[in-house]
């Protein structure tokens, strides 16, 4: 199946498709600028994570089978979301009939920054982004996919997403007081534990604000949607962005 240029299936999580098309466009354009052949399978819907995390993994067999069928034909599957990638890798139910295809999908699906650093072997992106940012490490990417070292483990420090931005001229990344505490989104948690969810989001934003952050940058729009929702409600003008938007902007 493999041709000279690997063929990438672009997986755009459902809420990004509906609410944040610009992040999806940035992801697509960025990959194309890095020389990739990318196709967005039009029939794709959702990976099934919201249902599984609510305790209904067994009911997502249909969604999972569909996901496998949509993406099994690609060499790689790439998504601008650590959370959804982790779900496909670790938490989607096993579909016996599609075992070989499922294994292919699970071992070739990548979060965007992980794909650029580990598969494309790009060390960093050159360009200019003269802003003071705070990085929000989304939990599933951090502790699930290990996109960066976390503050809990005693391990060498690394961060695949920030590594890509390390050479951007003018960029200042602040050190947060709680460098990787959860923002409180957590899927259905955002609604079922509303009070704590909002408090956690407020606390995260406050940490960035205390450090004078202009832009909170993350790799999962679900966390960003949650924090943006709180910031807007509190009439706080801090900007929130997906790193794909920054990289795509600087590279052009």
């Amino acid at each position: 199946m493999k041709k000279d240029t690997p063929h990438i299936g672009l997986f755009i999580p459902c809420y990004i498709d509906q609410f944040y098309p610009n992040v999806a466009i940035a992801t697509l354009e960025l990959l194309e600028k890095l020389g990739c052949k990318v196709t967005y399978p039009l029939n794709q819907t959702c990976c099934g994570q919201p249902m599984s995390n609510a305790g209904f993994e067994a009911d997502t067999a249909g969604t999972t089978s569909k996901f496998i069928r949509d993406f099994a034909g690609f060499d790689y599957i790439v998504a601008p979301s650590g959370s959804c990638v982790l779900h496909v890798k670790d938490h989607s139910p096993t579909i016996d009939k599609l075992q070989i295809n499922q294994e292919h999908v699970q071992s070739n699906i990548y979060e965007l920054s992980e794909f650029i650093t580990d598969v494309l072997k790009v060390d960093s992106i050159k360009g200019s982004f003269p802003h003071k940012i705070g990085f929000h490490a989304s939990c599933h990417g951090l502790r699930g996919l290990r996109l960066a070292s976390d503050s809990e483990l005693n391990e060498p420090k690394f961060n695949k997403t920030l590594q890509l931005m390390k050479d951007l001229e003018g960029l200042e990344v602040v050190e947060l007081t709680r460098k990787d505490e959860c923002c409180g989104f957590g899927g259905t948690f955002a609604v079922s534990e509303e009070a704590i969810s909002v408090q956690m989001g407020k606390d995260r934003i406050a940490d960035h604000m205390e450090k004078g952050v202009e832009i909170i940058v993350g790799g999962d729009m679900s966390c960003i949607m949650h924090m943006q929702g709180i910031a807007t409600r509190e009439k706080n003008n801090v900007q929130l962005m997906h790193f794909a938007e920054i990289l795509n902007q600087v590279i052009s």
Binding site: G48, G62, R143, S151, D203
Partner: protein, 454 residues
Amino acid sequence: MNHPENATVFLKDVARAKWHDETLWIVREKRDATIHQIPEWEELRELASQIKDHTLSKLDFYLEELEKNATANGIKVHWAENAAEHNQIIGKILEEKNCKDVVKSKSILTEECHLNPFLEEQGIDVVDTDLGERIIQFLKQPPSHIVMPAIHLKKSDISAIFHERLHTEKGNIDPVYLTHAARLHLREKFLQAKVAITGVNFAVAETGEFVICTNEGNADMGVHLADTHIACMGIEKLIPRRKDLGVFLRLLARSATGQSITNYNSHFRSPSPGKELHLILVNNGRTKQLGREKFRNSLKCIRCGACMNTCPIYRRSGGFSYGSTVPGPIGSILSPGIDLKKYSTLPFASTLCGSCSDVCPVKINIHEQLYEWRQEITKAQGSSLKGLSMKLADGIFTSPLAYKISGQLMRASLKTLPDSIIYNPLNVWGKGRNLPELPTESFKDWYKKNRNRA
């Protein structure tokens, strides 16, 4: 028992909730600082995990070995199938000794078995001697944390209860003053007690000894002054070899409070001449949990409390919000095994952020077990309303057309409806958060216009 409701109440006192969060976060930071001084930290966690996995895989063998060796050392070993039997064994020993006053050091197992109320009903005065436990005992509260039982209280709360019970100066909130008042009060109890009850941190099969770790020295003050020592342990507290203690003692205090070790780590192997030493091995549902493949390794827990200190939910809802003996992440995977219905909201009291699993010194995959309990709970609940909507959702996501229609409908309706109505159906999200601004088209629509080569 409903965690979200309890958490909402806890968060109403904004300043106190913030204080609680920050106090525990400092403990987490102390833990981080100390573990970075140990280059082999991750290797120690792996060793501890494997030692516990091994022990659990042949627990029957090690329990018998422990009993054999402990008995040979002169320890009287008892077996209790459940909490009631555990309490009865203790009740009987006290009756034989004609003992009406006991001192007790911290034991989460005796909390689990509700030993104090049982003994009190029999007219026995039980004095909890850990300072934190004595404070909450005065207040008739359960511990809100397994290592720091009174972490939810402020100096002023403690000052008030000490003024009432120990006649300390009204309004004196100096921790040194209050601690020394407790020292004098408890010393009197230690000197009078004939029986001391303790928990157990580790029991070593090959030597038949058990180990108790404290900073205050209260367990030792109790047992060395009393004539009879009763130690209570869950059957999962075993480790095979004495040298395994080297691994666990390096991990326990560093994980719990960031200290390099607890100041007193006492190894009990046989009674002092003329004294009695009892060891009670308690099941109380542990063999059931051992039989649950996905949840078995929750029994590796050494009760350090690190998962509580790191948990952003625990820190912002307090130990009582869990309504279970062991709160926090580890409690949320242990409690459903005891009563699935009562504790059904606990596995959902998590964002599955995974911090608990990464701080756990014995590498229990806590957040993955929270996820697995969710699956069990929804199965047990059958097709509830939420379940129905999830089945519908699966239908929507299985069919691209249905997904497209629902997405368009959502975007269209969100655009045309006034805020008041938007936030009505999405009431809960909208309480403290706005919805994202709506784009004019979905990515799919954009892609079709801009890239579709088909």
